[in-house]
Structure formats: C-alpha cells, structure tokens
C-alpha cells in the first residue's frame, strides 16, 4: 500500500520532534533532512497543529514542538487526518453495486481494509521510533 505524501511527511515530522523532547524545530530543519519544501511542510504542520499534536512557538529559537503522547498516538491517528477512512469503500463508485459478485469482492477488500487499519492502529509513534532505531543500527550511514 502507499501513503499520501502529506501523511508520510506528518509521520516523519512527528518522529523528528519526538526524538528530542522539548526541542523546537522549524519546518526548514525538518524539510532539510527529508528534502521537502518548507511551504509543503508548513501545510502539514498546520493540520497537525489543529489536531493538537504539535504546537508552534513563536520568536527567536521558535519552531514546532510535539505535544501528544508518543505511546498513545498511532500511525492511524495521523493518517486519518490526511486520508480519512483509509482505504476507500470497496463498493463506492464501482460497477455492479448491490450484486452478489460485488458483495463477495467487498468481503475480500474488507478483509484487507481491516488488516491495514489494525496494523496502522497498533503502531504508536514510540514503537515506530524504536523500529527506526533498529533499522538505523542495521543500515550503514549514507
């Protein structure tokens, strides 16, 4: 499966902010690491701010701070902000709606949907951070 770019950026940004609690980071700081424009990232941070996951601190040395609970916020919580109801309703707009065949296909797609949501809903930011630490240990620095 693929995530929208905004969802990925939101997850990366939160991982960066969680890495050093209390430290404020600007969109330029985060954008530099992932090669993303500040403009694009600012829109993502705006959504995260409205959801109460980050707050912006103004003034010299200002930037963004994570203000959620990394052991409670899951990937699904973040992705749902950018891609509501992931993935899409299997029958919506498809040919054969209300036929037994479409219902059978819907069952299969629903199984995939449930699996995806269970996976994303069970991985917290803290867990993803541990996973990325393990990956960093395995992968030589480039």
């Amino acid at each position: 499966m693929k995530l929208q770019v905004a969802s990925q950026l939101a997850i990366f940004s939160i991982l960066e902010l969680v890495a050093e609690p209390g430290r404020q980071m600007t969109v330029a700081d985060i954008g530099a690491k992932y090669g993303i424009s500040s403009n694009h990232l600012a829109k993502v941070m705006n959504v995260l701010g409205r959801a109460g996951l980050v707050r912006s601190v103004r003034g010299a040395g200002g930037g963004f701070q994570f203000c959620g609970n990394a052991r409670r916020i899951t990937l699904l919580d973040i992705i749902d902000l950018f891609e509501p109801r992931l993935p899409i309703d299997p029958e919506a707009g498809r040919p054969g709606r209300r036929t037994a065949e479409a219902a059978a296909l819907g069952l299969v797609l629903g199984e995939i949907d449930d699996s995806v949501r269970a996976t994303l809903g069970s991985i917290t930011i803290a867990t993803l951070r541990s996973l990325s630490s393990r990956q960093r240990a395995k992968t030589p620095a480039v």
Partner: protein
C-alpha cells in the same frame, strides 16, 4: 519479581483473568498449571507470575507459554497464549517484565522465535506487543463457520 507459578498462585491468576474476561475459569487454570508441571519442557516452566515487591506473595500478573514444534511446518517456536496484569498494576512495566522473562525461558530452551495471537480489533494488547518489538508473522490465520 517474576517466578514460576505455584499451585497456590492459580486462584489469583484466575481472578486476574476473570477481571479482564468476565469469565471465571479456575478449573482451566488449574489444569493448565498441572499440564505445565507435567511437561516441564523448560526448567522453571512457562507459567510465570509477577509478584509485587511491596506486597510479597501478591500475584499482580501472569504469563503462560508453550513451545510448539513443526506445527503447520513451522520450526520450533515459543507461543505466548496468555498474559494479563491486574488493574491498578498496569503501566508499571509488569507486562514488559513478564514478556522478557518468558522470552528468556524460550531462549534458554534454544528457541529463537516468539509468537502470539491478538484479535484484530483488540488494539491495546496489540500496541503492547508491537511496542515490545513484535511484528506480523509469516502465517495468516484462516477460519470458517461450520454450519
């Protein structure tokens, strides 16, 4: 402190389980404890309890596992099939300690893979196991209604 479960602990184990599931089943836990003692595949066993340091003898959590070999073609692995912590003792690292302890028991028996199963909609325990580094395994559980 984590130690092998004694028969005298089983009532407390059953009470913790009943608090969570709403289904008291003392006989089941007693039978499980007896079976574990009979098989004794691992020194110290795979039915462990966590005891409160500040209240010696008080069981505040338990974990039960089993080593299964060549099931569905899988190499021997350690299964965790019960893990519960009494309410009031959660978020204090009891579950993590129990899981680490049974992991050490599996390793001592030469096992290098630990598995468990969680209902897809039961996100709290799934988050716990994922937080402990567990990922989806290579098997998919299938089922059907028998009419």
């Amino acid at each position: 402190m984590v130690r092998p479960a004694r028969r005298a602990d089983v009532a407390a184990v059953s009470a913790i389980d009943a608090e969570i599931t709403g289904l008291p089943k003392l006989e089941h836990w007693l039978e499980l404890h007896s079976r574990q003692r009979r098989s004794a595949a691992v020194a110290g066993g795979l039915f462990l309890v966590a005891v409160a340091a500040e209240e010696p003898g008080r069981v505040v959590g338990f974990i039960v596992g089993e080593i299964r070999a060549w099931e569905f073609g899988s190499a021997p692995c350690g299964w965790v099939y019960a893990l519960s912590v009494a309410s009031g003792w959660r978020l204090r690292g009891v579950g993590e300690t129990l899981l680490a302890a049974i992991g050490a028991q599996f390793r001592a028996a030469g096992i290098r893979k630990m598995r468990t199963m969680v209902a897809r909609d039961n996100l709290l325990p799934m988050r716990f196991f994922r937080g402990e580094g567990m990922m989806a395994g290579p098997y998919i559980q299938l089922e059907k209604d028998l009419e």
